[in-house]
């Protein structure tokens, strides 16, 4: 009696399950139908959390993919024209030595809380960011004072010359928010509150999981038909999951797929695969303060031993290009006349002999941030090739903190020999690479080749000054710096990544912008069968 009761319980339970599964199928079908009464939803399957901090002055991470749809900046960089375009600022001009910038602010722009945009609001926003001094606030370092000239005119007075137009288009720390909220603390923003001028407003945020945005009807650019009413940005950690979502048409856009998933999707006629340039590149840093990497010839040997082609073709599946120097294409300072090391073991051997470095049991430590498939595979291929030269590569995949901690060890002997790292700019200027990665540092930060070269420092400083006033001259200097780096083999630029976006066919209007890593400006997109 009793046992049959339990048996029947199990049966009933499984029955309910099947029933539910059955129902699920139906609702799934309904989802694809897209009735008119339903709002149009754009679903962005993102590889990690849609934000870490919702405070626009603070966020220095992936959160910009959310924030750029809520807030706007004074200017926006266009990578195709390589020009800074107006956004909240209508026009701007700088004085001769680039130390004073005057911005005209757009009129009739409303914040989500109803306040109107004016010079005062811009000043308060940027002042807030500078005062909080969190995240990427350093980009405003040159600013001495912001002056409101009139309702819609603003002046930046600088300590030294700096390209404020570029800085104002930065991906981070350049958002303009309503004057009503500038004295709120981060906590307030993180509760899901905001007051930007952007096309979308927060409907609901769930920390670590998803963001739901709904359109701001009074957006200053106005709305057209077929634009999306709602935007969902959701964390989907696994590449395969994102691929499955886009294949099924459940998600409209995604990125950061594994190379093999991208390859497979290229065959799929239901999706668009968009390969766009990104400003993200991978650089190998040699520890120039530690033997035997303090030897220039040895470094050259190492540079020739890296299988660039194999990595670009097979690890990145051609979703990257071998770098020319440090600066990626699409950004001024990129120069394809710069020397490219090619994989050539004979040459490597030659330089190795020339270096006179004794190889007995030599083992080099290579570090990079754990979880990065591409670094891992590149490292393994590098390892295989270095072994052919008689050099053992000790691959150490570690947390970024541990990688960084090790690279900052007091004793150069305790540091790694080689380090792989991604770099991308906070605002569209080559200075981001050169100042951070090449210029000598008092305390080690990102110059992880530990270059201390006064000549280079001089050139970088000079170029930085000129970039506000004479960009051509600056560019020339920057190319010169890169040339020197390659010649001395301080660093090993490996490849410039492409960003690969995958969208459903009906997701139109999307344009990738390397200046804003991972950001989809949903206002530009629309739905079309």
């Amino acid at each position: 009696m009793r046992n049959s009761r339990i048996l029947s319980m199990v049966l009933v339970f499984s029955l309910i399950l099947t029933l539910l599964v059955g129902c699920g199928t139906k609702s799934g079908d309904a989802n694809g139908g897209g009735e008119d009464s339903k709002p149009k939803i754009a679903y962005y399957a993102y590889n990690t959390e849609p934000y870490i901090d919702l405070d626009p002055s603070v966020e220095y991470s992936n959160g910009i993919i959310t924030l750029h749809n809520i807030y706007e900046t004074l200017t926006r960089y266009d990578d195709e024209t390589q020009k800074v375009e107006p956004l909240l600022a209508e026009s701007w001009e700088a004085n001769e030595d680039g130390t004073k910038w005057t911005f005209k602010i757009r009129q009739d722009v409303k914040f989500h809380d109803g306040a109107l945009l004016n010079a005062e609001a811009v000043k308060k926003s940027i002042d807030r960011t500078i005062e909080m001094n969190m995240g990427a606030a350093y980009i405003w370092d040159a600013v001495k004072e912001i002056k409101v000239v009139d309702e819609y005119t603003l002046e930046f007075h600088l300590k030294y010359s700096a390209p404020i137009d570029l800085i104002a288009s930065a991906a981070y720390a350049a958002f303009i928010m309503s004057p009503n909220v500038v004295d709120k603390d981060s906590g307030w923003f993180n509760e899901g509150n905001e007051a930007g001028t952007g096309p979308y407003m927060i409907q609901k945020v769930t920390k670590g999981e998803r963001v739901i945005l709904t359109r701001f009807d009074e957006y200053w650019k106005g709305w057209k038909e077929n634009q999306y009413d709602r935007v969902v940005i959701k964390k989907i950690g696994e590449s395969t999951s994102r691929r499955q979502l886009i294949e099924k048409g459940d998600a409209q856009i995604t990125a950061s797929l594994s190379t093999s998933d991208v390859n497979a999707l290229k065959e799929n006629t239901n999706v668009n695969v968009i390969e766009a340039p990104s400003w993200k590149n991978v650089i190998g840093f040699f520890n120039t303060e530690k033997a035997p990497l303090d030897n220039e010839d040895f470094r050259k040997a190492l540079s020739y031993a890296f299988p660039y082609e194999d990595v670009v073709e097979n690890v990145r599946e051609n979703q990257a290009l071998q770098s020319y120097g440090l600066i990626p294409p699409g950004l001024w300072g990129h120069d394809e006349t710069l020397h490219q090391y090619k994989f050539d073991l004979d040459k490597a051997k030659e330089y190795l002999d020339k270096s006179g470095v004794k190889l007995d049991e030599l083992s080099l430590i290579l570090t990079f941030t754990s979880g990065n498939e591409d670094h891992r595979n590149s490292a393994q291929l590098y390892q295989v090739n270095l072994r052919k030269l008689g050099i053992d590569l000790d691959i150490r995949e570690m947390n970024w903190d541990n990688v960084w901690e090790k690279s900052k060890s007091k004793n150069p002997q305790d540091r790694q020999d080689i380090l792989f790292m991604y770099w991308w700019p906070d605002f569209p200027s080559p200075i981001s690479w050169l100042m951070s990665l090449v210029h000598s540092e008092e305390a080690i930060l990102f110059n992880l080749s530990y270059i201390k070269d006064e000549k280079l420092d001089q050139m970088i400083k000079e170029g930085d000054q000129l970039s506000a006033t004479d960009r051509d001259k600056a560019e020339e200097l920057f190319v010169q710096v890169q040339k020197e780096i390659l010649e001395r083999a301080y660093q090993m630029p490996i490849y410039d990544d492409k960003t690969v976006w995958v969208t459903t066919k009906n997701f139109k209007g999307f344009k990738s912008n390397p200046s804003y890593e991972g950001v989809v400006f949903f206002y530009d997109t629309y739905y079309e069968e």
């Binding site: 499955q244 093999s260 979880g371 393994q380 291929l381």
Partner: protein, 297 residues
Amino acid sequence: MLSKLVSIETLKPKLKEMRFLLYLLQKNKLTKLALYVAVGLFLVALLAPFIVPYASHIRDEANPSNKLLPPSKEFFFGTDELGRDVFSRVLYGTRISLNTAVLSVGLALLIGVPLGAIAGTIGGWIDEVIMRITDIFLSFPPLLLAIAIVSVMGPSLQNTMLAIALSWWPWYTRLVRGQAISLKERKFIQAAEAIGTSSYKIIFGHIVPNTISPVIVQASMDMGGVILTIASLSFLGLGAKAPTPEWGLMISTSRNYFLNAWWYSVFPGLAIFVTVLVFNLLGDGFREILDPKTRKN
């Protein structure tokens, strides 16, 4: 002469015991099968460098142009993202997993058994202190403790082993302590005490040898769990590091190729499954064979 006598005469009872065990094993077909497979696995582990078809694919070679080839005569289990033979790597993985598991369990035993024997035999405040410490370690979810340890010490197989041993020893301490307490009531312990045998000798001469069989059962059952934990930690990126052909790491890597190259995930997964299953079956069978309670029938 004497030594010969010793060896032959000592063997006899052991042989009888062995015969009895073999008989029980004979009856328990699943366990027998598991035993064969386990022996096979150990052999594979031992001989891996010599029997794998592409020994150089373990760490010395990569052929990206051959990447992600489906299973074929040339590559039984296909190839991975760097064109290495998955079959060779999976076979070699046996060596990694068994080696790590045996060492972890061994380390855990090394910590747990003496502590348990001491706690159970001596009792009093020593027992109290030891047991509270085991309680503390037991109240960490095992994986989480391992995560904590590895995230401090940095991921590597050695640290994984250490972490697993640290989260596993309390179980042995508890087991051995319980055994020791019941053994303590046995008269031969009292006899030894009456003789004046030192506590050290009582613990390690009398108590520990008599806890062996339950400990063996537990340890063989744990082997499966440990292998699974190692794989899980590697999967989370907290265990083995590339290019080590560790199964969990292979699955973790294969995730990105999962939809295109099923073989890359399937075979390491099956390897884990089969190995863990075999050890679980073995542990289960051993328990049934060695447990006097089930022996009764």
